[in-house]
């Protein structure tokens, strides 16, 4: 297996080669890499791959790692069933009574 075929984002199966290509084409933030490649759009929402992607951006652009902004983290913290958010067993029901 070649290095470029190594999977960086497991959830969306995005390879090192795809991420390097996105960076060389001008994606210089984690969010830009995500929008181009889907890396970080899957079940874990970039919790694993975003750090590797930050390092890759730093390597290719020369930006210090500390200046590479994390992608926006949004609720939910972990996956949650739709019925939990809005169904009969909704965790919100209490609040609405």
């Amino acid at each position: 297996m070649k290095d470029k075929d190594v999977i960086i984002c497991r959830c969306e199966e995005v390879t090192l080669g795809e991420i390097e290509k996105a960076i060389t084409e001008g994606a210089i933030t984690i969010a830009e890499v995500k929008r181009r490649t889907r890396a970080g759009m899957g079940l874990c929402q970039g919790r694993t791959c975003s750090k590797i992607i930050a390092k890759l951006i730093s390597k290719y652009t020369g930006q210090p790692l500390k200046d590479i902004l994390p992608s926006t983290f949004r609720p939910p913290v972990r996956v949650v069933k739709l019925k939990t958010l809005g169904g009969e067993d909704s965790c919100f029901l209490e609040k609405q009574k």
Binding site: I28, R35, Q45, V79, Q96
Partner: protein, 385 residues
């Protein structure tokens, strides 16, 4: 090297600016696009990819959307980029008699403009979308409604524009605009200055800031839309859907407060469902809220009970560039020679992007457009002052 001169400068790298820069480059102009963040980093990625005709106001708005829809058919080949365009039709789901009455009138108006659209009874609606609840009353259907990957659409325009010689500068913010006897002369940015005689304000919710640089009052307000994203699931929807309340809320904000905001849903090419959205005026606050998410989740479960067991992986919010009459602001501005507006599409930017780019390029090159822009001029707001 940052360019010192351009024939046209486009401000804003969302779907509208991207389409404009492509269409200008296609006409052979030396054009530069300036974007303060990344391509499609704001509204154009924090939205759905609906290319809806049924949600457009019967009149000039729908006429514009019909022309835009035609341009989508060939866009994938023209731009040589897989924009995940799928034309499987769309429905407006009707839940009660009030909505049925309103939609009957709405559909007749749309037909008179030339939109192919029908009313379906409950059985026919469920036949088309088997996941729909049996508690609905019926729906409309238009075979012209479609969907696209809203992010790839911007990239596709930018990619082709670059190939045609356009210069694209991301992470480059416009800090000032210099005039000379009410004519555009120079654009100041964080990367340097560009001389130009024509500037296009395609900055969406930020277009009022650009307007202020030349003392123009641009009445566009950010309207927040919150959305849910599900995990990728096997095909569960055939086309795109909105609820009749969506149409009511879009055109009558006071109704949204009483009736709820209405809902839209699509399944992307990757299998994720995108479910939206709220319509809120909260300034530049881009957070998602418990109330917003709960209201969307409750409503979508009513329409599609089987979605209950699907996992939500993300919530997000974006700003729609709202105008008080629901129409975008397009065309020249009479006070300043060389200043052209192309913003304020609210939730219609994706659908209207091809035609907007085409018309603005026509306006720049020929001085007039094949579809009149009179009703979209900024001046329409002046009398309200």
């Amino acid at each position: 090297m940052f360019p010192r001169k351009a024939e046209v400068v486009v401000i804003g790298g969302g779907v509208i600016g991207s389409s404009i820069v492509y269409h200008l480059a296609k006409k052979g102009l030396k054009v530069v696009l300036l974007e303060k963040n990344g391509i499609a980093s704001g509204t154009s990625s924090a939205c759905e990819g609906l290319v809806l005709l049924q949600s457009k106001k019967p009149g000039v708005h729908l006429k514009l959307a019909l022309e835009s829809a035609k341009k989508f058919y060939n866009l994938k080949n023209e731009l040589n980029y897989d924009i995940e365009y799928r034309n499987n039709g769309g429905m407006v789901v009707i839940e009660n008699n009030e909505e049925l009455k309103a939609m009957k009138i709405f559909v007749e108006k749309q037909k008179s403009i030339g939109l192919e659209v029908y009313l379906l009874d409950k059985d026919k609606a469920i036949e088309k979308e088997p996941a729909l609840s049996h508690d609905i009353l019926g729906s409309t259907f238009s075979p012209l409604d479609a969907q696209v990957n809203q992010i790839y659409l911007s990239y596709a325009f930018i990619n082709s524009a670059k190939n045609l010689g356009a210069k694209i500068y991301t992470h480059t913010e416009v800090t000032g605009i210099k005039l000379e006897s009410n004519k555009i002369r120079l654009i100041e940015t964080t990367k340097g200055e560009i001389e130009t005689e024509i500037v296009i304000n395609a900055a969406g919710v930020y277009s009022p800031e650009i307007g202020r640089m030349v003392n123009l009052d641009i009445p566009i307000k950010p309207r927040r839309g919150q959305l849910l994203v599900t995990e990728s699931v096997p095909k569960i929807l055939n086309g795109v859907l909105i609820s009749a309340k969506y149409i009511a809320a879009k055109f009558n904000p006071s109704l949204a407060e009483i009736e709820g905001e209405g809902i839209s849903i699509e399944q992307t090419a990757s299998g994720n469902l995108l479910i939206g959205s709220t319509r809120e005026f909260v300034g530049m606050n881009k957070n998602t809220t418990l109330e917003g998410i709960n209201s969307i989740a409750k409503h979508i479960i009513m329409l599609f009970p089987q979605l209950k067991e699907i996992n939500i992986i993300r919530t997000f919010a974006g700003f729609r560039p709202y105008t008080s009459d629901g129409l975008p602001i397009l065309g020249k501005v009479k006070e300043i020679e060389g200043f052209i507006m192309a913003a304020g599409h609210e939730g219609d930017g994706i659908a209207l992007s091809p035609i907007t780019g085409d018309l603005i390029a026509e306006l720049v090159v020929e001085g007039k457009t094949s579809i009149p822009l009179d009703e979209f001029k900024l001046e329409r707001f002046y009398s309200f002052k």
